[in-house]
Symmetry: C2
Subunit: 410 residues, 2 copies
């Protein structure tokens, strides 16, 4: 007997799935942190990072996972801290974290920094004043002293969804000064608790069958209910560059948030695309100019505003002149070590409207801008401190846009 | 159309599934390491640790995983090194490793050990001569100097199987002096490469269907072909204590290796069960004494041999007097942080024979011994250096049994 999958809305999800036991305690910590940042007049960004799991058994041994070392999130968190933001770093247990990410056990073992002499532990002579360790450690101590980093961990997609809702609600007191940087790789499918006992793994004829339901889309209630004034940035990871624009646009139309950062699996370390809706809806355009309106080169109003209020942060942000900018993807094969760090979605979204007039909002248009750094692939593993990281420019650009957006509040 | 699952033997598996690209390079390193240990007259143990993944897509974003932080393997590796063994530590990328496991990023961040003063990095005053850090670091440096630890990483179950076969074949030159401590949590199911394109995740009606095939049982060819003289220890993790004995016996009968260490999910930090076959087959016993023969209190021959050749290492190894020793499991709820570290299997094995006479080998009997340490549950996370770890006694007991077994070679 085939059971009909349940279509979960966010509302029915939270009404039927159990909250993680430690939620209240974690949220008390967040409340205190947010209160302190408000009193110190800081912007706060929630950075989500790493992959969520889907447990397949109540006594969890097996689970479905999304590949993510957490590089994008951990790296970006450091740059947000440097830019003066307070950061709530909500990450998958054991995924990379800001600062310690530079000393991954596999590629740069921290025990090699230390020495034993005369029964005392010391730092190896060549590391004591080395720029890399000193810079990382100095930044780490500064953040500790300032109290601007608060860490939360999740494992399952259920942990993640409950935490995201509760943290968003806490952060909503900051109104426009709260940013959400949703870089976690979130599962699309899950096994509802109510089905879990029925769904214990069957091994008939030596093969395994798993049937799961879709995770509700939570960006919509996040935008409309949980934190209506928040500045929300989501990620789209694709394996085909040509899908970035249509998928990013579809997400912006569907959820109504501020920015989608699109990236392609093999090139995401040195190029990403920012996609925004045009801020002022235009009246419907007559046939013949539709295509131009949709794909216009930039948003002069936004650029102008930017120059008036905040100098452009990232000089390598290039507004595109079309959705297909003609560059071949420069990707080399990505190995497991450097695999996906962002939200992915498998079910194909409805095809994007060919022109604004196909849209429910007749005047919806989009602005796409590429952000690129020189492609200098690192050796596999942890990026070295001194190498240029694209997250530096992503964060600078978002900080710029966020400032514009705060200031444009009417 | 339902496709019939393929039943893979180890042979057909390796004939049809692609070897990892770096296999030859890794094995060259192992060969060199083994050669050096042979020349230095050391026993070598292969420790496998952490969970294997099953990728669900060729462009890997989603995968099935087995929960394992790698605590059992990483901890045991340290004690094997201390006992004078050379260790090949074959672990899941990013799972815990010997020595660095004490400074997990989440629970005991190593950056907190360091200070910045006058633009130089130092060690915090209270840590410089602290026993914990000093002991870990001293052991780490000693192992580095001796060159007795060789690390290999895997991600997928395919990586694991290819590596295990190749490493076993290299280690087989050590004959009885090679030990295998198979603590990795290995997937039971996988997606054959040939099916992978057909098996891309389907999202019909908003639900996900996955169909997989069984991973071949590789202990049998390992015992019979790859390393026929090796001392092979496998793990069984169950959630019901009463299943430990029948499942461990079934594994020993089926594969013919030396020891199964059984452990129950909630109590595995302070008790495990050693299960061995009786070494000399007995003639079939008349009805009425069968049950006693099967479940006898100990193996006097083994105990005697032990006292003659090597003093018993672990004073808390208690041979049981029956398969059900009457102790209630003392488990508290295990959280995701401390979840399964050992091989698990879901398909129920054939029920164990009720008495030796039901067996294909009429005289096969087993010896079960509990190994226990006091139950002092630690706070969640990394064990502290000074707390008693059950792996210390597990390794001591295995080292003792391995020595007996080497010496008993005819």
């Amino acid at each position: 007997m085939q059971e009909e999958p349940i279509a979960f809305s966010a509302e029915s999800y939270f009404a039927t799935q159990p909250a993680p036991p430690s939620l209240a305690e974690h949220i008390a910590g967040v409340k205190e942190f947010v209160h302190r940042q408000v009193s110190q007049n800081r912007n706060v960004v929630l950075v989500t990072s790493g992959g969520t799991t889907v447990p397949l058994e109540l006594n969890v041994v097996r689970f479905l996972d999304n590949f993510s070392a957490g590089t994008r999130g951990a790296t970006s968190a450091e740059y947000f801290l440097e830019a003066g933001y307070a950061v709530i770093f909500m990450h998958r247990q054991f995924s990379l974290q800001p600062f310690s990410r530079h000393y991954s056990h596999s590629t740069n073992p921290f025990l090699d920094l230390l020495t034993v002499e005369d029964d005392a532990v010391g730092v190896a002579a060549d590391k004591r004043a080395g720029a890399d360790l000193l810079a990382v450690l100095t930044a780490y101590k500064r953040v500790q002293t300032a109290g601007t980093l608060h860490t939360l961990t999740f494992v399952t997609v259920n942990d993640y969804l409950w935490l995201l809702r509760a943290v968003s609600q806490e952060l909503s007191v900051l109104r426009r000064r709260a940013m959400y940087y949703l870089a976690a790789a979130v599962s699309d499918f899950f096994l509802p608790r109510q089905k879990m006992s029925e769904h214990k793994i069957q091994s008939g004829k030596g093969s395994l069958h798993i049937e799961m339901d879709q995770v509700p889309k939570i960006l919509k209630p996040m935008v409309e209910e949980w934190t209506p004034d928040g500045y929300i940035v989501s990620f789209k990871l694709e394996t085909e560059e040509r899908l970035l624009v249509p998928k990013a646009r579809a997400a912006l139309e569907r959820y109504g948030h501020q920015v989608v950062i699109g990236n392609e699996l093999h090139t995401r370390k040195w190029q990403v695309m920012f996609v925004e809706r045009k801020r002022k809806p235009l009246p419907p355009l007559p046939p013949g100019v539709e295509e131009e309106a949709t794909l216009e080169a930039g948003n002069p109003e936004l650029e102008t505003t930017a120059q008036e209020e905040v100098p452009a942060a990232a000089s390598n942000v290039l507004p595109t002149t079309s959705t297909e900018d003609g560059d071949a993807a420069q990707g080399s094969q990505t190995t497991a070590e450097t695999a996906a760090t962002e939200e992915t979605s498998v079910p194909a979204p409805p095809p994007p409207p060919k022109s604004p007039t196909n849209n429910t909002n007749d005047s919806m248009t989009f602005v796409e801008s590429w952000l690129r750094i020189p492609n200098t692939p690192t050796v596999t593993g942890t990026p070295q401190v001194k190498e240029k990281e694209i997250e530096e420019d992503i964060v600078a650009e978002l900080v710029r846009r966020h400032a514009l957006w705060i200031n444009s509040a009417g």
